[in-house]
Point group: C2
Chain length 328, copies 2
């Protein structure tokens, strides 16, 4: 990337050439997003943002590709952000998957960006929130953010996106007990991909059964069967997306979604800064005391009093939830 | 869990009955670890801590079980901490895997604890560090911490453990490019499990080739072939573990390892507290500015000046690393 100044960068961005957008995202990725976003922020808020998550192998990239094709057939410009949660063990598979988006590489109205998220905080790169804002400011109609559901990524994608698609694969063992683990809370639309699989109907029944047991106030997740490779069911999926978008606007929930995405980014930015400072302070942490005492002393640097530190109940919510499954 | 006071809890713990340990861990899990750890911390530092990570399906629990069996045959008491990174999509599989540890459930000298780590920070539960300290203080000889390598968990396990085993599976696509992604830095011992697989030797050659290209200063990772199910290779694995432990003590690197585990826990504790506070502050975050400006204002509450906030270079390291793989 040429070392343009920010004025030249914004000028290029304003010419609405893909290279301008690509450079703006790279600029943000390199940690210089603040001034850029400040300048372009008032142009955001127009795009539809769709999140797509699911386990490895479910065919997310094929689904992405089919969704992009559908959106393009309606004349919409599309941005795709592929977030790779970067498990060292799944790298190869994820990259292989991504190749399926290549059919759109030559379309100037489809902008594809892949990002690896790797850092102590895990989850989506802070840069992916910047990328979504920049694509929005650039004027893309639809922004599709896809990630494999490992770690926290599927929760974070639901925070960033307005409409969250959860793709599931029949016969994968991802049956009903999977849905207990928080997925019901994030899915606006379930996509059972590979609908020609012999166990597809069983999976559909399980999801329906699960939904019947729950009381929904507001949006009830839709369930769509697709065969992304052949394109079957993609029209239904698009209708479900439009239906959810319409619901968000009719009820005013779109503002809640925007606020969530904003809060998500503010949290990630603040945590990133805090973490850097924390890493620095840790080099001087006391080692002649127990870890709790050392943490308490260290927190004083963050304007958090030592007195708050005791093992009181207030501490509870700050700890990751841990459940007991083994011998007790 | 009965609502014992901490004095009764410590008394029961001191009687060295598994129930006392179980209750102490539950106490710490519920967010009341500070006082408990403060009281027991000076008894820690005696156990050998082994981390075991690898992709799903590699046979980690079978390996764990075989390692436990070996340690027991040598008269050692063992604690196992199974950390489930709680992808909603892998839940079922991970739990299924765990069942293989049941052969040790009736052995009073094997203490098994499963924990789910789920929270915005992802990665290992802070409670697993407490559990390791408590098992150590309790007097267990060997503590085995196992987790599936997704998200950040494999990095965190390497920080917590003194000896890190990375299990790989032949023919799984986890070939040489996988090893580039940071695994070389954390593995003290590579375990190629399912050594009877036709591609096991190819994987061994790839790992060896990779190692030959690298310059090691200090410990050179060992490579062990196992068939955990039949027990083949487990003696070799145990010898490799003992050899690494001896290396750590001879070189004094054991102190570095202990410091890393300490720092890891202090970081997690501090981040947990900060995150809770951040969540609170986020409810009052400005929404009439862009996310960077809002983050800057919010950080003042953490004794971090707004003036540090601009998109200067210093910000760079605080952002998750993001690399470009797609169109630019």
């Amino acid at each position: 990337m040429a070392d343009l100044g920010i004025d030249a960068l914004v000028r290029e961005f304003n010419q609405r050439r893909p290279r301008g957008l690509a450079r703006a995202i790279s600029w943000a990725e390199s940690g210089r997003g603040a001034e850029l976003i400040r300048r372009l922020y008032n142009r955001t808020g127009r795009a539809i943002t769709i999140g797509l998550t699911g386990p490895p192998g479910v065919g997310k990239s094929t689904l992405s590709s089919a969704i992009v094709r559908k959106a393009r057939s309606l004349g919409k410009t599309v941005g795709v952000i592929s977030v790779d949660p970067s498990s060292p063990f799944s790298h190869g598979a994820l990259l292989g998957d991504r190749i399926r988006l290549t059919e759109h590489f030559v379309d100037p109205d489809v902008f594809i960006r892949s990002m690896a998220s790797r850092g102590h905080l895990g989850g989506l790169a802070g840069a992916s929130a910047d990328a979504a804002l920049l694509m929005d400011a650039f004027g893309l109609d639809v922004i599709l953010i896809e990630t494999v559901g490992v770690g926290q990524s599927e929760i974070e994608i639901a925070e960033l996106a307005q409409t969250t698609l959860v793709a599931l694969q029949p016969g994968s063992g991802d049956s009903i007990q999977v849905l207990k683990a928080g997925i019901m809370e994030i899915a606006d639309i379930f996509v059972v991909n590979k609908a020609d699989h012999p166990m597809a109907n069983q999976m559909r029944r399980e999801i329906r059964g699960m939904m019947e047991m729950l009381q929904f106030t507001g949006w009830v997740p839709e369930l769509v069967m697709t065969q992304a490779l052949s394109g079957e069911g993609i029209d239904d999926l698009w209708r479900a997306i439009e239906s959810h978008v319409a619901y968000l606007h009719e009820t005013g929930e779109i503002e809640t979604k925007r606020r969530e995405a904003f809060t998500h980014q503010v949290r990630q930015l603040a945590l990133g800064r805090i973490q850097k400072r924390l890493q620095h302070e840790l080099q001087h942490a006391r080692t002649d005391v127990d870890p709790y005492a050392a943490a308490g002393i260290l927190l004083a640097h963050f304007n958090m009093g030592d007195d708050e530190e005791g093992g009181d109940d207030g501490d509870q919510a700050a700890r990751p939830r841990a459940v007991v499954k083994g011998l007790t």
